[in-house]
Symmetry: C2
Subunit: 343 residues, 2 copies
């Protein structure tokens, strides 16, 4: 019943990533060629490990943002001579891949993008070091664009992501985590790179500060919408859709918003359940099902999806200063897509 209402809200704005993917196809072909080219190394295990993760794909959302922001800001299509945004896009994907490699080591994750996590195949040590390699390669690519401002944006983003990861590691099992701190964590560990990816793309096109700020704001709100929806999907989705195991957050005892809201809305009878299953992480097979029922029953899932929808709207509003064109509409559709993903 509650889920149906949420589904109805979201059905009004299904959104799509496909439109942007089609529009940016030529550019992203160039980005893919750069990625393949620059993950090479004389040390063969490096491209092998990197390719395991990069070839598994994902949606390449972050480099897409860089390309789209540059094009919306008036940069010509590929072939027009300005391939700086393609290099920045590849750099963004390398930074993202590096954080995923380190993240999976830190969390001990089993699955990533539907495949066995790299550290389970090559070992944690190689995952850490190949992450370092990709991070450095990202900066080498940025240097080639000769844009100090883009370097500044992405260096800062890399630092903020690390701070967010540390904060999450410290607070992630805290049942009393406030919504504000939760949002601070996901802003740093997820949305910051969306924001920086879009802003760097805009900067590479040479736009004014108002427009690069608008694209930064778009990326930040979009990133928050995506992470909130992801955290909701972990209690509402199926493993095949997620590319990770549904219920992973619960089993890891991760204090995400659906869980925090459900805890806040639960009665004393449930407090003991949460304390055991999340606080002490003593879980039985049936616990995830019970948690899911509580998260849906208390309206915590809907509230999370509502907040995601608010950020999606905010993302779209940030684009209002740009002329209506295919790029802008594709980015608007992407914001709707962020919150319309269903199991």
């Amino acid at each position: 019943m509650v889920l149906d209402a949420a589904a109805a809200t979201l059905a009004r704005q299904p959104g799509s990533v496909d439109r942007l993917v089609r529009l940016a196809a030529a550019d992203m072909g160039g980005v893919d060629r750069l990625i393949t080219d620059r993950m090479q190394s004389d040390v063969p295990v490096i491209p092998a490990l990197a390719e395991h993760l990069i070839a598994a794909g994902g949606k390449r959302l972050r480099p897409l943002l860089t390309v789209a922001a540059a094009r919306l800001s008036g940069s010509g299509q590929e072939g027009s001579g300005n391939d700086h945004c393609l290099k920045l896009a590849a750099a963004v994907e390398f930074i993202h891949t590096a954080t995923l490699l380190h993240d999976d080591v830190v969390d001990g994750s089993q699955l990533r993008r539907g495949k066995v996590a790299a550290h389970l195949i090559w070992g944690a040590a190689q995952s850490v070091l190949v992450g370092d390699f990709l991070f450095a390669r990202a900066f080498e690519l940025m240097v080639e664009t000769d844009s100090m401002r883009a370097l500044q944006i992405l260096a800062q983003a890399s630092r903020v992501i690390a701070e967010g990861e540390v904060l999450q590691l410290m607070r992630s099992h805290d049942l009393n985590l406030s919504q504000a701190v939760y949002l601070e964590i996901i802003a740093a560990k997820t949305a910051e790179l969306f924001a920086a990816a879009a802003e760097a793309g805009a900067v590479s096109a040479g736009v004014d500060a108002e427009k690069s700020k608008a694209l930064r704001d778009y990326g930040m709100s979009l990133g928050l919408a995506f992470q909130l929806a992801d955290d909701a999907l972990d209690y509402g989705g199926a493993t095949e859709t997620l590319g990770k195991n549904a219920g992973d957050d619960f089993r890891e005892g991760k204090a995400t918003l659906p869980l925090l809201l459900a805890i806040a809305r639960s009665g004393p009878r449930e407090a003991e359940f949460w304390e055991r299953a999340i606080g002490r992480r003593e879980q039985t097979e049936a616990d995830f099902r019970r948690a899911r029922e509580l998260i849906i029953g208390t309206g915590a899932l809907d509230a999370t999806l509502d907040l995601a929808a608010e950020y999606a709207d905010k993302a779209k509003a940030a684009l209002s200063i740009f002329p209506a064109n295919d790029w802008r509409e594709s980015l608007e559709s992407l914001a709707d897509f962020a919150v319309s993903r269903r199991a």
Copy 2:
């Protein structure tokens, strides 16, 4: 007897790091302030963990190189307005600290700079993430100097270091490692940052390509000399001098040059010992003593120290294009110091 001969050779050129430390004292005070300032974060565990390692000191050799290279290249002293070399020096120390944090996780090391390794106190996850934080901070500092060339040099160095670490991880237990590959590994994982640190300092002073190349060559040879001497000290030094446990390399089965040369020079009777103790890493308490005797007895230790001395001479020769002054002499003395450290 063999050790005595080596000691006599080295006694002719004792060298010192103190002279450079005194000369660069004011600059290094500025570098230390930058380091303390920029390792701060709103997430308290980050400066706590970083300080554990950074406050433990070490000799700050790499940032010293950056400062000295800039001064030898004609950059004014601190206060003259150009503090770019100080920021680059702090960035170099952050990159170095980040690699140490990741390295200790990768190797499972117990001691670093005479203190318990950070990952044993805060956990491997935090060490990985704080390493990432420091790495990103390094790039933020570099951006402030507005020198794209310095960014290029240090981004490349960061990438080469990661490649060297991966290569070492793959080949480090290989008893048939050639001297050439061993040198390739230590050039990448150690000497590259010495080279980049000196080159970046030179570049920040705006010297011509010949001089920045000379300082890069100095750093590369110095780094090789230091690593060779370190690898020798692991079989000839005491724990207090090393800041790590003597015999660590042996116990980890690390194929360093003293070991590789001793294996090559051992008879068939010892082959079984090496295969068991290093190849299969089945070691008894007495094994390190036996390995040490073989490494000294076969002349492997001396040969390693001789090669280190060659690189120290090469480092000094690279400085010949600079006018003789205090900075040059201090750097020459540092090269001698690299190979005169005794247990």
